[in-house]
């Protein structure tokens, strides 16, 4: 009885999911399998082969960005979890702070930082870095080319999505049962072993959700690659956006690309979660 009453509270959420998640996905599926005139076709998928470059580029950049986020995010989370409560609160606030600003605005800001005549290059020029390099190597360097490169796109991804890596890992680590670590120590494990055998496996769920939360938006982003990649580094998000928002209007093809991307992402995530579950169980045993 009591259970039933509570489940009423879930109704709005279920409705929300149905209307804004399930139905749109169904629409994407329908679009992907139809032609412009509405008949069934597999043409859209046949054409995807020619966009293999875009798929590899997107996945490559997203994987790199996710790895970097993990490499930066994990140590930060560990470090944070060990500090006092007050420090944690302030630090978390600082990590969240940039997210209160509009995402596009932040990316635009990076544009003016990275540009050839941008803040960073002007700073390098002002401290005489280019003169120094030119003096040593006899080059005539005037700026570092940073904007409109794949590196800039990865930087944009890492900058924008890093909090999504830190927060889940942190929230898992901070809840770790300290008695387990103490027990491991008592049993003679050094700190490397403690980390490898206790902390790391127990934090994997956080890592997995962090990886998902960084990888999925990174692989489908279009704003970052347009602004920081100069429209030269076309990613899946751009390809899909083009098909829907006009410059090359073809929602059927766009849906097919989106569907294939979705399937690949789901497969990746399932495989990863399997791997994660196994680890967790090993620890419990």
């Amino acid at each position: 009885m009591r259970q039933n009453k509570l489940s009423l509270f879930a109704a709005p959420y279920v409705l929300w999911m149905a209307v804004f998640v399930v139905i749109p996905i169904l629409m994407v599926v329908v679009y992907a399998f139809t032609s412009a005139s509405g008949g069934f076709t597999l043409d859209n998928f046949a054409r995807i082969g020619s966009y293999a470059v875009v798929f590899t580029r997107s996945f490559k950049l997203a994987i790199i960005a996710t790895l970097i986020c993990l490499l930066i995010g994990y140590p930060i989370s560990c470090f944070l979890a060990r500090e006092g409560a007050r420090f944690q609160r302030v630090a978390l606030m600082l990590i969240m702070l940039p997210m209160w600003m509009n995402f596009l605005l932040r990316t635009y800001a990076w544009m003016s930082i990275l540009e050839n005549t941008g803040l960073l290059n002007r700073f390098f020029a002002a401290i005489g870095l280019f003169d120094l390099i030119n003096g040593i190597f006899g080059t005539d360097l005037e700026y570092f080319k940073m904007i409109n490169t794949q590196g800039a796109v990865v930087l944009g991804m890492v900058y924008n999505f890093l909090p999504f890596m830190i927060l889940p890992i942190y929230s898992v680590i901070v809840k770790l049962d300290h008695r387990l670590i103490e027990a491991a120590r008592d049993l003679g494990a050094d700190s490397v072993t403690v980390f490898r055998r206790v902390t790391l496996p127990l934090s994997l769920p956080g890592v997995l959700s962090g990886v998902t939360m960084v990888f999925v938006p990174a692989v489908s982003t279009f704003a970052i690659s347009q602004l920081l990649g100069g429209g030269q580094q076309l990613l899946l998000g751009n390809l899909i956006e083009m098909q829907f928002k006009g410059t090359a209007y073809n929602p059927q093809l766009g849906s097919a690309v989106a569907l294939v991307m979705m399937v690949i992402v789901v497969i990746c995530m399932t495989v990863m979660n399997r791997f994660g579950e196994g680890e967790e169980q090993a620890v419990v045993l």
């Binding site: 020619s50 050839n116 429209g231 030269q232 829907f244 928002k245 006009g246 073809n250 929602p251």
Partner: protein
């Protein structure tokens, strides 16, 4: 802490939702408040005109913007909008007319239509002038930074020249980018020939592979050209004049091969809910007073004959210095320049599909 966080996020989300509802929620009421939903390009109106119109008529204006004709079209064809007045460009207007998405205007409610110069009436996109009142017009050309090129640019060749590798900003929409390549090759911007379009594609693709293009941009061009980030870009004359205010080294040229000229015109959608209000808005924007004010703000020429004639005087009165006639001619290109320019016409379905395919293909070249 986490609770506070999620609460903040939830609040932020719902605030966004509410704001979204606020924008789209009105529009139907009959004896309630009168409204008109206008959709135009960004930075394309002197916003004080909106409040002036609201004060004079008591009609609330919901003013929204989209970045391109193509995006406007996809919004309209997905049925996601409730606009009354839209301001598309010529070729998009003829496509919308063809697809029966516009309604004929009641010109008796738009007395200011008589002030539109004759050369902007009955144009090819609306030959009998049943659906449109021109809003602004202009040309496409090359904007370059005179300190970054060795000699003045005179030809579209510069947009494909490896001499300027990594110094060129290409315009990021299919019609203009392929159009430039077509003009450079001596073809019509309205060709349906697969070979000619393929040749235009090859020209762009080769230049892209050769690293000529620093980036493919739309409105990002403002920041980049003003900051001296790139030497050469293709964009619209009116926007050049805005950039010039921030960087006096910039020059504008309509290349010798000719170019594209365009008219953006106000139309009312077939399923508009506020037809009377829409007519009032169009009439207001076509008036000489509004045209002068708007032209001064957006730097795109008005089609209003009186406004065109009075503008130099208006400028002098407003700013206390005479208008540079060279700039005036960039904004309102004289007839002999226009004769060398071609307007875009709507292309048949097959050509549009080809444009889309070529454009996507161009995007994946690295």
């Amino acid at each position: 802490m986490k609770k506070t966080l999620s609460l903040t996020l939830a609040l932020a989300l719902s605030a966004g939702l509410l704001a979204g509802c606020g924008n789209s929620g009105n529009g139907s009421g009959e004896n309630e408040e009168r409204v008109v939903n206008v959709c135009s390009w960004g930075e394309y109106i002197d916003e004080s005109l909106i409040s002036q119109f609201e004060e004079e008529t008591g009609i609330t204006v919901n003013y929204q913007t989209v970045p391109s004709n193509e995006e406007l079209y996809s919004i309209l064809s997905m049925g996601g909008a409730n606009y009354d007045v839209i301001v598309p460009s010529d070729y998009m207007i003829s496509q919308l007319i063809e697809e029966d998405m516009l309604q004929p205007l009641d010109y008796e409610k738009i007395p200011n239509f008589s002030k539109i110069a004759d050369r902007f009436k009955n144009l090819s996109y609306d030959p009998e002038n049943l659906y449109t009142v021109p809003y602004a017009w202009g040309t496409l050309g090359i904007i370059y930074n005179s300190t970054m090129v060795e000699e003045p640019i005179t030809s579209w060749d510069a947009m494909f020249d490896t001499q300027y590798a990594d110094q060129v900003l290409m315009i990021n929409n299919s019609r203009d980018a392929l159009g430039i390549a077509l003009i450079d090759l001596g073809y019509s911007v309205n060709t349906d020939s697969e070979e000619e379009l393929q040749a235009a594609f090859d020209l762009l693709a080769q230049a892209k592979r050769d690293g000529v293009y620093q980036a493919w941009v739309m409105d990002e061009v403002f920041d980049k050209m003003e900051a001296g980030e790139a030497a050469i870009a293709t964009y619209y004359a009116g926007d050049y004049l805005s950039m010039l205010e921030n960087n006096p080294d910039l020059e504008f040229v309509i290349p010798e091969e000719g170019s594209n000229w365009f008219v953006d015109a106000m139309c009312i959608l077939k399923d508009a809910e506020n037809v009377d209000e829409a007519h009032e808005w169009i009439n207001f924007m076509a008036s000489t007073e509004a045209s002068l004010k708007n032209m001064d703000y957006i730097w795109y020429a008005s089609p209003n004959q009186e406004a065109l004639e009075q503008y130099p005087e208006y400028y002098e009165e407003t700013y206390g210095e005479p208008l540079d006639m060279e700039l005036y001619e960039i904004m309102a290109a004289p007839q002999n320049v226009l004769e060398n320019c071609e307007a875009y016409l709507v292309r048949p379905e097959a050509t549009r599909a080809l444009y889309n395919d070529l454009w996507t293909e161009l995007g994946i070249i690295s």
